[in-house]
Each structure stands twice: as structure tokens, then as C-alpha cells.
């Protein structure tokens, strides 16, 4: 049911783990539904220089986390905000219909991490 690309990103997930010096961290989903994604971003001069994730979820959840973190690395914050769930799914050569929500989660995870980055920046400036 999964494409080869999905299976590759599930079996050898890129960017898995924590990022000690992350300055944007977002967590989306919930355990009741069976999917949680935690995205760590390191942003320097408005550029995402590193990204990592931790995910509790199905094969598609892991693969979309992996792909989404890959896709945003090197991008500006604005570019990353434009990452759509469809783009993530397409980069994985598609997802089964009942798994599309995982790509939505990945999109939301990136946004949540960027939100957190903005919040931290605002707080810093406020200080």
C-alpha cells in the first residue's frame, strides 16, 4: 500500500532524534489518535540550518516527518511556512487516502515549530 519512497523514509528515517540547540520546537497530534510528531528546528539568519523529529505513529507518520524535515532544511522560514501537506505527500510519491492526515500533521508540525521560533524571538526582543 505504501510507495517505495514512503518505505524508504520509514525504514531509514532522515533527521530522527532531538536537536539540543533547536530554537523552534513544535509538537502536534495526540496519543489518543495514535500520532504525535515533535519537530525540532535550528534557525539561523532566517534560514533553517537543521531539523530533526521524533514521532509516535504509523509508517506514514514517520515517513512524512522524515520528508518534511528534509524539505525544510536550507529553506527560509517564509519558504518553510509555505510547505503544504500535498507537497510532502507528493515528495513521497503519494500516500494512501486514509494516510493523508499524516502529511497534514507534518505540515502542522513544521508550522508549530516555526511558531515556537517566532514566539521565542519575540520574547528575546521583549527582554
Amino acid at each position: 500500500m505504501y510507495s517505495e519512497k514512503v518505505m524508504d523514509h520509514f525504514s531509514n528515517p532522515r533527521n530522527v532524534g532531538e536537536l539540543p540547540d533547536a530554537n523552534g520546537i513544535g509538537q502536534v497530534g495526540n496519543a489518543v489518535c495514535g500520532d504525535i510528531m515533535k519537530i525540532y528546528l535550528k534557525i539561523e539568519d532566517n534560514i533553517i540550518t537543521d531539523a530533526k523529529f521524533k514521532t509516535f505513529g504509523c509508517g506514514a507518520a514517520v515517513a512524512t516527518s522524515s520528508m518534511a524535515t528534509e524539505l525544510v532544511k536550507g529553506k527560509t522560514v517564509e519558504e518553510a511556512l509555505e510547505l503544504s501537506n500535498k507537497a510532502v505527500a507528493e515528495a513521497l510519491d503519494g500516500l494512501p487516502p486514509q494516510k493523508m492526515h499524516c502529511s497534514v500533521l507534518a505540515e502542522e508540525g513544521i508550522k508549530a515549530a516555526i511558531d515556537d521560533y517566532h514566539a521565542r524571538q519575540a520574547q528575546k526582543e521583549a527582554v
Binding site: M7, F10, S11, P13, V16, G17, E18, Q27, A31, V32, C33, G34, D35, I36, M37, K38, F53, K54, T55, F56, G57, C58, G59, A60, A61, V62, P96, Q98, K99
Partner: protein, 398 residues
């Protein structure tokens, strides 16, 4: 090819070589129409009746009480809808449990939409019902009790004989879905006091697309499939002669050494249970004692079932999960919810189901490969991270 351990026998089995051999004549040099008078037809008819006797012998029934179907799902649908039609003037109330297979549960839900009332008996943490609950649920308009013999996800064996005795005393028809039990534990329709019993060929190394319904002598359900009048008028359709022959042969084989095979399987299962429950934050699901010999079922905290099954597959292990993701629904299996597991834990279920073909080496292989998979998934799980942090904080606070 690298090693593969098939531990999903509760889903389906490899076809038995013995059964295939018995089927081969009807897959090659015999057309196998059981309803015709010429020599080929008579041979097919004999083979079908021989299979019927074997099935009957395996469940303690008379051959004329056994009707062949296309599988467990059809048998369940036929039994339940048949009783409802037969007893429609007597009442509209049915009693079942919260942990039935979908073939029963969805049929009951369908009937609820038609105006029937169903009481789903609650189960305890082991998946067992209370006989007092059952007695209390019985009403004057109760027309059917349907309770599975053994559960497919957690392996719990239910007290069928006792339920049957109550049903009999109250004059209520009693059906049991014995799809997971037949060929795996002793099943005897008269000791179990059942009026109707469903079984499915491919759960005991018989062919897929074959099953049977036991109907107690004197009971004659209306047909679910009308047509040419095969199976004494109550199950029409050209007989699946090779399938029926394979079903009979496989069931005879499965029950021939049942006692020994159960012992051997239970020992292997116990080794597996012991080994895997040694992993922290892991529990066995289902009744620890009254359970099918071959089913070892677990939940691993902070791990999601589908990714577990996928990673196990990459290690050459075939198992299954009642996780929501693998079924495309959002809720984890109704069985795991019914035994009281919280959602987030129910998502991390794994069922390993063994049969006679599994070996000691298989168990060793499972015990070698599964713990690192759990570890790997936990290492990438934010839930696990939180759990460990919480424990560390609690310890520090002391």
C-alpha cells in the same frame, strides 16, 4: 531468501500439504460437480459427504448438522440473520459481547438499524464476561445469544458451555463464533450446549473461502443464499468441492493430535510471553490462563502498532496489530478498548499467533528480533521521551 517467521496464523494460515493433496484430484482430473448423477458427480458427492463427516467428527456433531459455506463471515451472518428471521415473531432482542469479531459485530449493528435491540455484555480486563450479567440481560423477547468461543485478538477463551446451559434453560437459541477455536482447542457442540456454531477453513490450514455452519438437528434456519437448493436446500450455490475436501482434510489433521499440539504450542507461547513481557512497559493482553494455545498478544507502551508490524516485516517477521492505523480507522480495536486499555496504549498492540508449523527456533528468532524493534521505535517516540523524563523527574523529586 533470508529467514521468515510467520506468526500471523490467527489471520490466516498456509494451506496444509495434506489438505492440498486431498484437493488435487478436484483441481486437475475431476470436474467435481456434486449434484450430478454420472460417475464424476458421484465421486464429488462422496468426497463432499466424507468431508462433512470429518467436520462433524471434529466438533462432536452429526454429519447432517454440518452445512458448508464460503467462510466464517458467511456462517456468522447466516446464523444471526437466520435466527432473526426464524424468530421474528418472538422478539427483537439479542445478547452478545463487546469483543465479537466484526463478522458478528457489524451484522448486529446492521440489525440494530433494522430495529433490533442488542445488549453487548461488557468484559473484564481479561476479556471475560460475567454469567450474572448474561442472566440479567435476558428478557422475555430475547431470541438469540451469540458469544464467540475464543477471541481472535487477545486469545481469551469464553465460558461457552456455561453460557449454553443458561441459554438452553431459558429456551433461547445460542450461536458461537468458533472460528478461532475449531482445530485449536477441543470443541464439542453438545458439551458446549450450542445450537449454532461457525467455523472457517483457513484458520486451521484449510483453504480460504471455505467454512461451515453447525446447525443443531431440528433447527432449520432459512437460507441466506437462495438458489439451486444445494446443502439440503439451505445453502445454494455449486458446491466448492475442492474447497470442501480441503476443509475436511485440514480439520481432520488439526484435530488428530490436538492434545499434543496444544501442549507444544502453549509452551512456545509461554516462552514468547515471558521473553517479551520482560521488556519494560509491556503487558500481555487477554486471559493469562484461559487462552488459545497459539495466541500471544501484547501492548507495548509508547509504540504505535503499524510501525511495529512494518519494522518486524523488515526483520522477516509476520505479525499483526489491532492498531487504528493498520485498519484505516481512527480508534484502535474495539477489543482492546473493551478490555479497558487507554487509547494511547491500545495503539501499541502486537499479536503473534503460532500454529503447528512454528518451531522453537522461530520463538528464539522472535525473542531476538522484537526487543530491538521496540527499542528503536521508542527511541524515536516523543511519548517515550516524556515518559522517561517524567520518571526521572519523579525519582529526582524523592
Amino acid at each position: 531468501m533470508s529467514k521468515i517467521v510467520y506468526a500471523d496464523n490467527a489471520a490466516t494460515t498456509f494451506l496444509s500439504k495434506h489438505a492440498l493433496e486431498a484437493m488435487m484430484p478436484f483441481l486437475t482430473d475431476q470436474p467435481g460437480n456434486a449434484s450430478t448423477v454420472y460417475a464424476y458427480g458421484r465421486a464429488a458427492k462422496r468426497a463432499v459427504e466424507d468431508a462433512r463427516s470429518k467436520v462433524a467428527a471434529a466438533i462432536g456433531a452429526k454429519p447432517e448438522e454440518v452445512y458448508f459455506t464460503s467462510g466464517g463471515t458467511e456462517s456468522d451472518n447466516w446464523a444471526i440473520k437466520g435466527v432473526v428471521e426464524l424468530r421474528k415473531n418472538k422478539g427483537k432482542h439479542i445478547i452478545s459481547t463487546e469483543i465479537e469479531h466484526h463478522a458478528v459485530q457489524h451484522t448486529l449493528q446492521y440489525l440494530e438499524k433494522q430495529g433490533y435491540e442488542v445488549t453487548y455484555l461488557k468484559v473484564d480486563q481479561y476479556g471475560n464476561i460475567s454469567l450474572d450479567d448474561l442472566r440479567a440481560a435476558i428478557r422475555p423477547d430475547t431470541i438469540l445469544i451469540t458469544v464467540m468461543t475464543a477471541n481472535n485478538e487477545i486469545g481469551t477463551i469464553l465460558p461457552i458451555a456455561e453460557i449454553g446451559a443458561i441459554a438452553q434453560e431459558k429456551g433461547i437459541l445460542f450461536h458461537t463464533d468458533a472460528v478461532q477455536a475449531v482445530g485449536h482447542i477441543p470443541v464439542n457442540v453438545s458439551e458446549m450446549n450450542v445450537d449454532l456454531l461457525s467455523l472457517s477453513g483457513h484458520k486451521f490450514k484449510g483453504p480460504k473461502g471455505t467454512g461451515a455452519l453447525y446447525m443443531k438437528k431440528g433447527l432449520r434456519l432459512p437460507a441466506l443464499l437462495q438458489g439451486g437448493g444445494q446443502e439440503r436446500g439451505v445453502r445454494s450455490g455449486t458446491e466448492n468441492v475442492p474447497g470442501i475436501v480441503g476443509l475436511g482434510a485440514a480439520l481432520e489433521e488439526a484435530t488428530a493430535n490436538l492434545g499434543e499440539s496444544m501442549k507444544r504450542l502453549a509452551a512456545m507461547r509461554e516462552k514468547l510471553v515471558k521473553g517479551l513481557t520482560a521488556i519494560p512497559y509491556t503487558r500481555l493482553t487477554g486471559d493469562p490462563v484461559h487462552r488459545l494455545p497459539g495466541i500471544a498478544s501484547f501492548v507495548f507502551e509508547c509504540v504505535e502498532g503499524e510501525s511495529m508490524v512494518l519494522l518486524l516485516d523488515q526483520n522477516g517477521i509476520c505479525g499483526s496489530s489491532g492498531s487504528a492505523c493498520s485498519s484505516g480507522s481512527l480508534d484502535p480495536s474495539h477489543v482492546l478498548m473493551a478490555i479497558g486499555l487507554p487509547h494511547e496504549i491500545a495503539h501499541g498492540s502486537l499479536r503473534l499467533s503460532l500454529n503447528e508449523d512454528n518451531t522453537e527456533e522461530d520463538i528464539d528468532y522472535l525473542l531476538e528480533k522484537i526487543p530491538p524493534v521496540i527499542e528503536r521505535l521508542r527511541a524515536m517516540s516523543p511519548l517515550w521521551e516524556d515518559k522517561m523524563a517524567g520518571i526521572a523527574a519523579a525519582a529526582a523529586a524523592k
